[in-house]
Amino acid sequence: MDLNDSPEQAAYRDKVRSWLQEHKDEAPVLRGEGALTDEDEIVAARRAWQGRLAEAGLAGVTWPKEFGGQGLGPIEQVVVNQEISNAGVPGILDAIGVGMLGPTIIAHGTEEQKTRYLAPLLHGDEVWCQLFSEPAAGSDLAGIQTRARQSDDGSWVLNGQKVWTTNAHFAAYGLLLARTDAEVPKHKGLTMFIVPMDAPGVTIRGLRQISGEAEFNEVFFDDVKLPADAVCGEVNGGWGTALTTLMFERVTIGLGSEGMGYRSDRFAHAIAADPEARADGEVRHALGSLGTELLAIRFSGYRTLTALQRGQIPGPEAGLAKVTLVNAAIKAGDLIADVLGPEALSEPGEWSYMISFLPGLKSAGGTEEILRNTIGERVLGLPPEPRLDKGIAFSELRAKEREAVSA
């Protein structure tokens, strides 16, 4: 049991650190004095910075070398994350593209797709977005209704709506899951597509959340034409392609759950300035409880990393970390508001923003309830609940649902 670097890891860390020291003045300033405020300027500056990081080998650390990556392991990715954080500079802009979508193309894409898309993705020249969730399909992702119909010439026509799409408003491409056959059970009629976000018929609209800010987008597709070679993976094999993306999503979260900034020391700092609060038994108990949970996540992350390094699949601690994280952060926001009073709810403000953001985060990447079902079944081996969607065609399932609602 050792949390220190091996000699090779220490040497790698030194190399990363010295590059960052030398080049950190080129990084965009996002906080404090001289910070950029214009959204377009921020995006442009962060794209350029991602390009610098990629040239230096600090983006796509785990990508194979032939696609511009470093061919290194998860531990080196964590070293890079830590050093970027320590240097006080922003990381890559397109974490979703580099962490999840690029690796999906590497696993399922054609040679032409890999040649065309991967290098600009890695370097931030073309930002990507993930077009999976829909208004009526989130946790039950295979229930998506966006349709892609194939024309006689092999091209496709896309209609439907996606939601919760991060970065869509400045993305060049999206990886989109669509239904291509409604006459088979729902997991079997899906196909993954690569969609240019500037294609005619694509409409992007910011989705404002509790905070009033639009962190996500809704994306509408009206008769969007896609060429035959826009398919990523097999036609009607899209569920398998999507599972690859979701696996990389879990790995990305597992390696960086502390990166969201929900840390016990930060919350303690907010309370420590108030002498009454730091001596109050109730405040202390609440802080001790949520601090304990957040400390546990840090070490759950190290356990995940240990498993990944040994070539194992991360255990239940990885899937449950998000539940722990979100709920502990919610308690922290509540406690800080109790201590600071209405002052904590000033807008814009660090705490008001966090308090507003967390209720939505609870459902991000699948609701807590469905995650608990999945873990109960896959990890604990408990029997599944009876399901009404097994073995019947998606069109029939939808008809039954409509009938039940109107009855």
């Binding site: 049991m1 409880s289 190290y302 408990l382």
Partner: protein, 365 residues
């Protein structure tokens, strides 16, 4: 970075599981609840070398770290084995470092030691304190004068039958650790029939002053926290296994009860709390060996998480089993009894949670 157990640690854990499996400890708990004596597991501990786990090799021990003792404690917790490690291991740590004259006997287990818990000062209370006999007001640590100790310490784990007591007293405001052989013990065991407890009275008894630092005296408290945490996690594992087995085979309304979301989510919550506590056991083990500055935070967090998990798991085990789970026909009540008493010993889960807050606030400035 690697949190995996070493081959030696896996061997230690597997050997402990094997050694304890030769005794029917949960059956013994049931019989003890009806008045029978608990089987004496100390010879098993001696044979396995557990008494000397934290004693240096020069003094005849294994020279291992707190985490190794925690692995054994977790196995004891799995089967509710009443091995007197919670008393002995923290005591042996101070006796080893403090130059105790009979350390070789402590290491081989022919002399069993018991640690009289003394809570180190924190960010609010600046004195060393011992458990109160009842209520919230903690007692002042006993007074030391030369080589004698006055007063008494209540609720000492594994005190009945111990041959030497390690007591932390205060002399001129500074903590002093003493090894006292001639103390009187009033058996205070209750509720959990697998755990032995005593009130220890010194009343001017003489002994040896141990040559240990203030940090080492404090570490004994945190080693005790980490041991209870590990033991609790072992008990949680057993509760979860029992519950899962039953949830798969018990049917209501035509379905296994484990297929219901309400039951599934309850057991997933047991798993979540248990996995968090396991992660913190690793933190405590790592800090105990390599990061002494963080050991108070790590051990307290492990204790807080494990105590909370134990209570939740014990109640969930009863709940999943339905009415039968709340009767002596079933094993669940022994887990429950363990949970209720453990959470109140050596400061209790509540105090450990407060200590986490105190450490975080102190670090925040």
């Amino acid at each position: 970075m690697n949190l995996a157990l070493s081959d030696e640690q896996e061997f230690l854990r597997d050997a402990a599981r094997g050694a304890l499996a030769r005794h029917k400890t949960i059956e013994a708990a049931r019989e003890a609840a009806d008045g029978a004596d608990l089987p004496d597991l100390w010879p098993t501990a001696v044979e396995a070398g557990w008494p000397g786990l934290l004693v240096s090799e020069d003094n005849g021990g294994a020279g291992l770290a707190p985490f190794d003792a925690m692995l054994v404690a977790q196995e004891c917790g799995r089967v509710l084995a009443g091995v007197e490690l919670l008393g002995h291991v923290p005591a042996s740590y101070l006796l080893d470092r403090g130059g105790y004259s009979r350390i070789a006997e402590v290491a081989d287990g022919s002399l069993r030691a018991a640690y009289c818990p003394a809570r180190p000062p924190g960010d609010v209370v600046s004195e060393w304190t011992v458990e109160p006999l009842r209520g919230l007001a903690r007692g002042a640590a006993p007074e030391v004068s030369g080589d004698t100790v006055g007063g008494s310490v209540p609720w000492v784990p594994d005190a009945p039958g111990a041959g030497v007591f390690v007591v932390v007293g205060v002399e001129n405001g500074a903590p002093v650790a003493m090894a006292i052989e001639g103390a009187s013990v009033e058996d205070a065991s209750r509720y959990d029939h697998t755990r032995s407890l005593g009130h220890v009275t010194f009343d001017g008894a003489a002994g040896e002053r141990l040559d240990v630092s203030v940090d080492e005296i404090a570490s004994a408290w945190y080693i005790a926290q980490a041991l209870i945490a590990a033991e609790s996690v072992g008990t949680v594992e057993t509760g979860l296994e029992m519950s899962l087995e039953y949830a798969k085979e018990r049917f209501t309304f035509g379905r296994a009860i484990g297929s219901y979301q309400a039951v599934k989510h309850t057991l997933t919550e047991v798993l979540r709390q248990s996995e968090n506590a396991k992660s913190l056991l690793l933190y405590a083990g790592w800090a105990g060996e390599a990061k002494p500055d963080e050991f108070p935070l790590a051990a307290s967090a492990a204790r807080a998480a494990a105590g909370t998990a134990l209570d939740y798991a014990a109640r969930a085990t009863i709940g999943v089993h339905g009415g039968i789970g709340a009767t002596w026909e079933h094993d669940a009540p022994y887990l429950f009894r363990r949970a209720q008493l453990s959470r109140r010993l050596v400061g209790g889960t509540h105090d450990a949670t407060d200590r986490v807050a105190g450490e975080l606030l102190a670090a925040a400035g």
